[in-house]
């Protein structure tokens, strides 16, 4: 088993060896903690989207007079923007009123895009932080070396009131990913493969660490995809440890000081998995569970009514670039709708300025405003009974994107783009430039 060696200066030699999760949660609780300990942790950052309306209701019922620290709360809308129903508009309105009344400094309304893209872009996320969000994919921020996890609305209200949350210190699963991802095979294929191997509850309650040459090679964007979907195998948090890419990403986004927090090389982890990803095929998760994963060649040819590229999993510049590489100069198949949803305004502007946007639109794509898009089945591309959709999103549960009698298939941006061209599941390696 190959061990990663970290410079001795990065950790205190006198301290008992600890995992990343232990270190962050020890700092947050003010004592040395061990897996299984139940602790009260001080939260560094608390994020909510539309469901801030639900948090707000519980917060008022608690009867606290003010937020524990308004600087540490970030709010925005991304799930239903612009408001798709009157009720959604009322929810937005109640949060806007609260933000104005409290004078909350970190509110992006519906201007910026998906929370998990916007918080890193705006410099709210730094290595070693303890972050909670009322969204299950809050695990995404692990890509920048933060310990971050999803919580519910009521407990977020308690965080708003007290700044603290009870947590169980998790065990750690370490995934050492060796080899090289080839051609259009991407971080999405790697994480789908892992989920297929581990099962939808295979990492329940664990902190999953992603290490090894494949992760070193991966962009911050790819690491976000991996950490984002770590929760689809039950992980409490996913993490890729900071390196020069993390540093480059954070430069210009935050002025705040940060120190990387890494697992000690001799820390005890519950399990280590060595996986050689050499020769990995593009992966597809078939309906109706995220762990129903097969290589694309096994199911190529299944007709698709819709294709979606976007979401907190795969709506970044790198993802649109991969899609454009497949679509450039070609046309989406008749009878298939390709919907592209940039993850954020920053991504949207980049796509516009770089010409990627016009290329995608020329290929026949419909490009919507940045946000969650149709991923959670609220709007912007719902499915009729009997329809099939291949998407770069993160869940394919029954009824996820519309009718309970529709089907969602999960894949990488390149695979979704190739499938949109063919009007059926297709192998992107056949059209990859």
């Amino acid at each position: 088993m190959e061990k990663r060696i970290y410079p001795a200066s990065l950790f205190d030699a006198n301290m008992a060896a600890m995992t990343f999760a232990q270190k962050v949660l020890s700092r947050a609780s003010g004592r040395d903690v061990f897996p299984g300990d139940i602790i009260s942790a001080k939260i560094d950052l608390a994020m909510s989207h539309e469901n801030a309306a639900l948090v707000l209701r519980a917060f008022k019922e608690i009867g606290a007079s003010s937020l524990w620290d308004p600087e540490k709360v970030v709010l925005l809308f991304d799930h239903r923007i612009p408001a798709n129903t009157t009720k959604a508009a009322e929810g937005h309105q109640s949060v806007r009123r609260f933000v104005r009344a409290e004078g909350l400094p970190n509110f992006y309304d519906l201007r910026e895009g998906i929370c998990h893209q916007v918080l890193p872009e705006k410099g709210h996320v730094r290595p070693g932080m303890l972050i909670v969000g009322t969204d299950s994919h809050t695990t995404t921020y692990g890509a920048l070396g933060a310990f971050s996890t999803g919580i519910g609305a009521t407990e977020m209200a308690a965080v708003w009131a007290t700044g603290e949350l009870w947590m169980k210190v998790p065990q750690t699963f370490r995934f050492n990913l060796t080899g090289k991802l080839e051609g259009p095979v991407s971080a999405k294929d790697a994480i789908l493969h892992l989920i297929g191997e581990m099962g939808a509850d295979g990492c329940d309650y664990r902190c999953t660490e992603f290490v090894g040459p494949v992760v070193d090679e991966m962009s911050v964007s790819g690491r976000m995809t991996m950490c984002n979907m770590s929760m689809e195998m039950g992980a409490k948090a996913g993490v890729a440890f900071p390196d020069h890419k993390t540093k480059d990403y954070l430069r210009g986004r935050t002025e705040a000081e940060w120190t990387p927090v890494l697992s000690d090389p001799d820390a005890t982890v519950e399990k280590e998995f060595d996986m050689d990803l050499t020769g990995l095929s593009p992966q597809v998760a078939y309906p109706h569970s995220v762990d129903n994963v097969k290589p694309v060649e096994e199911m190529a040819g299944i007709p698709m009514d819709q294709a979606v590229i976007g979401s907190c999993t795969n709506g970044r510049a790198e993802d649109l670039l991969a899609a454009e590489n497949v679509l450039r100069g070609r046309r989406v198949a008749d009878g298939t709708r390709l919907i592209i949803v940039p993850a954020s305004r920053e991504v949207y502007l980049w796509a516009a300025d770089s010409g990627i946007l016009s290329s995608l639109v020329r290929s026949g794509a419909i490009v919507t405003n940045p946000g969650c898009g149709p991923c959670l089945g609220a709007h912007q591309g719902l499915l009729a009974p009997g329809e099939r959709c291949i998407a770069t999103t993160n869940r394919n549960f029954r009824g996820r994107m519309g009718s309970p009698d529709s089907e969602v298939y999960l894949a990488s941006p390149a695979t979704v783009a190739a499938s949109a061209l063919k009007g059926a599941i297709a192998d992107p390696r056949e059209v990859w430039a």
């Binding site: 469901n51 608690i62 519910g152 009521t154 007290t162 329940d204 309650y205 869940r395 009824g399 996820r400």
Partner: protein, 160 residues
Amino acid sequence: MRGRVWRYGDHVNTDVIIPGRYLDDYDVKNMARHALEDLDASFAKEVSYGDIIVAGRNFGCGSSREQAPLALKGAGVGAVVAVSFARIFFRNAVNVGLPVIECDATGMFEKGDVALINLEKGILVNETSGATAKFEPLPGFLLEILKEGGLVAHTAKRFR
């Protein structure tokens, strides 16, 4: 507590417990009307107060939506017994005052059986068949939150 049993399988996810299309409505009565709609359309119509759900692995996997336990509680569900729970659902359930019991009772109950649960002692009884099972009771502070009706009431004590 005592209730009539509804039996479900593994990986009952939050999208089938309360589909995304209904998440703009924060009224618990309306959530309850759609509880488990995409898994079992008969549930919301026929469920009665105190009924108990017995399910397999990874109950409540998926989204962090608190509407999931709220919809079940609003529909009258008295407790969910499952082999295992997804972590956010587990937390949300306790926080909204819906008892969750980790116990493999899948082989012990048929739909419609009557279950009797003692949360503190960790005992589960099928009154219809006579079968019994033991489970590890929740840690004391979680039982306390449940007894107080959820985290709002529990936290509110600090601000009184």
